[in-house]
Symmetry: C2
Amino acid sequence: MSMQESSGVALWRQVADGIERGIADGRFAAGEKLPGEMEIAETYRVNRHTVRRALAALAERGLVRAERGSGTYVEAQRLAYPLRSRTRFSEIVGAGGHEPRGQLIDAGSDVANREIARELGLKIGAPLIRIEAVRLADRTPICVSTTWLSAERFPDAGSVFADVRSMTKLLGHYGVKDYHRASTRITAAIADATDAARLDLPLGRPVLVVDATDVDMLDHPLVTKRSRFAAERVEFLVENS
Amino acid sequence: MSMQESSGVALWRQVADGIERGIADGRFAAGEKLPGEMEIAETYRVNRHTVRRALAALAERGLVRAERGSGTYVEAQRLAYPLRSRTRFSEIVGAGGHEPRGQLIDAGSDVANREIARELGLKIGAPLIRIEAVRLADRTPICVSTTWLSAERFPDAGSVFADVRSMTKLLGHYGVKDYHRASTRITAAIADATDAARLDLPLGRPVLVVDATDVDMLDHPLVTKRSRFAAERVEFLVENS
DNA sequence: TCAAGTTGTCTATTATCATAGACAACTTGA
DNA sequence: TCAAGTTGTCTATGATAATAGACAACTTGA
């Protein structure tokens, strides 16, 4: 006899999301004890078993840890990711005290559609190199990126990236000494099966979708990319100073 | 006999999210016809009825429109929301050709916790005015915001806001001629029941969570706020120029 | 006009979600 | 030591999700 309008999201999942939000915004600090299962069940007006399922899901993802007879305790934190003109994955992750890693998923050819052509200042149909990579902090996947470069300006970029595993080093290989972020567009979506697998996320988790274009010191476009970040692992910082 | 690991998200909902993503990133352009229900069912490897439920959910939200005997067609678009130093909801929405509106949900007193105190340059426990409002473009809710101001500097801010329904006008009332954005932090989460109701969203949709602080021309903090945007209705633009 | 392809509606069956109650196993503090 | 409070596990039941098949109602283009 639930009054529940069907949202397509299971109750236990809604409870899990609620608790996760509490952890994310500091209502439940790291190391602290969560309220008892009965108490959570009452606040969400669900059965204790439903709460247990929610906690089990969070425990599976390493966000909480249950201790029999004692309580359930909080574990984790988010990576601060500043979006500045100078945006380098490796530097940001390194600054957070983690080891940045990159892993090539796929590289290949592509042709420019209208949007990419506009971003890169090319003609529609111009040949492109497409690089798909997942980037990690220590062993935790942070984002998957699809990067496009002009195939004329950066021939064999795919195999070069496979070697150096860093966009900064790849550009350096072609003589680009420095570059910076020209534009960034952000929205959010739900992880599809592919993203979920690559980010090691359960299906249905939110991802931050970021479209960005990097330019050289003369403002000539170099690369444009679409990245998908595991929202639960990062927090973007926009600093207008 | 599905191999499906249980993600807590119903299959029809996953299909709906997939189609919506296709619409958002342009694979299905506005006005275009979607693939037939059978074809969608095959690509997602689900039953046609499951696809129908997904399409029904999208139709309910106005994203697609089904025409019997003919096909199902795409309807919508996202609002571009630039995050610049000068960020004014009303200007951004107006520039998009929509009419900005604001609606007060609640106003009251609060005391500064550590985070808010830091943002506003106050002491922990300092008296605050808390304003909760929903902001709309035409009749579509875009975001809900919780705004905090120093109660000493802005007495009765709640009732003033109820009158003018605009943060810019409220600040003007206290002699603040101009202000700009000092910092913005962005992440994503899942809408809880309260947000969902206020944003007129189904439960479980992603929201962009934005923490921001505005300062006056001397960089003295004025207000800090946490906003929750319906991700399906906006796209943030970060322009590092 | 007609055939092919589309969405709409009905019945039926199986698997999963959510609730409910009971009790075991364990921790903590008095 | 013991009582109160915690998480862990079992059984059971009704509601909802997902599948499956059949056919009606309608649109489109040949």
